[in-house]
């Protein structure tokens, strides 16, 4: 049994981290059950809903479709690294003020897809936003408020820069 464990070193929300787990552990299981970061959600478990979206080396990925072992040496960002309850990230502020949240289950994934988008493209068009969040399902909002929140976040970002 011993030799089947994988140990990795990686950066988690900016801090050096390490973990050990069975080889078939997904990145999502590592984040939720080993590291106990419950912000990242499991919706479908097969890459269709985007609730488990995290950022690996600057790119949005589905953590349910990735083995935890693949994170070795990588830099991982989860929603816990985005902002704190008393110090929200501007994207989170925009979602709160723009009513981009209803039940909230899809929100962490949408926030991470938005973060990856705005880091790469601070002034996205509506089509750019649609492409970036096409892999994130929301069953509550009908998406209009999410688009508006992301547009507001982008406008805020560009104002501050």
């Amino acid at each position: 049994m011993q030799d089947a464990l994988v140990s990795i070193r990686f950066r988690l929300n900016g801090r050096p981290s390490s973990a050990e787990f069975p080889a078939d552990t997904t990145a999502l299981r590592l984040i939720r059950d080993v590291l106990n970061l419950k912000g990242t959600k499991e919706g479908c478990g097969i890459g269709e809903c985007g609730a488990c979206t995290v950022i690996v080396d600057g790119k949005a990925v589905n953590s349910c479709l990735m083995l935890a072992a693949q994170l070795d040496g990588r830099s991982v960002a989860t929603v816990e690294g985005l902002g704190a309850p008393d110090a929200l990230h501007p994207i989170q502020e925009a979602f709160v003020h723009g009513h981009g949240v209803q039940c909230g289950f899809c929100t962490p994934g949408l926030l991470m897809s938005t973060k990856a988008l705005l880091d790469e493209n601070p002034a996205p068009t509506r089509a750019d936003i649609a492409t970036a969040i096409a892999g994130n399902l929301c069953r509550c909002t009908g998406y209009h408020h999410i688009f508006a929140s992301i547009e507001a976040a982008a406008a805020g970002t560009s104002n501050k820069d």
């Binding site: 969040i133 892999g135 994130n136």
Partner: protein, 285 residues
Amino acid sequence: MAVIQYLRPETLDEALDHLHRSGRRTKILAGGTDLVVDLRNGEAKPEFILDVSRLPELQGIDVTPDGVSVGAGVTLAEIESSEVLKRQAPSLQGCSRTFASRQIRNVATIGGNVAHCSPCGDTVPPLVIHEARAVLAGKGGRREVAVEQIASGPYACSLPPDEIIVRFILKPVPGITFADFQKIGRRRALAIARINAAAMARQEPDGKIAFLRFALGSCTPTPQRLPEVEDHLTGRAPTAKLIWEAGRILAERTIAITGRRPSTIYKESAIQGLFMRMLAPLVTT
């Protein structure tokens, strides 16, 4: 439940050594977007997972004297943003735009898409019209095989377990004036193709089609070119009626391969319709 071991070799030689010893008991992981689902639902039960995603031999998109060389580990996102493919293989780049979602494109690879051997693999029809060859590496050396020969049936890979796809070589085709990839899915993002197709053509100034390649995916056990369709249009200036006829031949040939099924009543019209929509820009009169 057997214990799985995860291996990430530093070099291609190490990977090939492992496959030589234990290829049958190993699943190769490139991006993992298909494999992790198969592990989850128990369809894949390997003893070893061999992660080849960081091998340098599998990276990069280069122009070589033999053609455009695309590493098997190149992601769909890299294909989407490649300037080389924009010029040299627009239908391959086209398939990346509607491939799954941003999150999956960031990880999924062209080599994994081909080796998974889904009849619906979106990268396969574009590779087939480029007569792409897969460069395979094994302990005995390298060899090449045509991409359409990799799948022997739905999800059945014909490659021996001790070999690995290193790159794809796309033959250069000069003077192409038209190239496209089209797909019908149940929704725009994340849909597995019901029908997908790639085409490229050279149309002369007088409207005649001097050269045409067309491949259909998702409809037959493995994606394939349809020579009867290519022949019907080659050397002629397409009219709407001629495109309609070629689409008819395509639908008939496809049904001849698959037999009539419950889905045929839909697919017969949809295949012809997709073909006509795709080649409509070639109609000059």
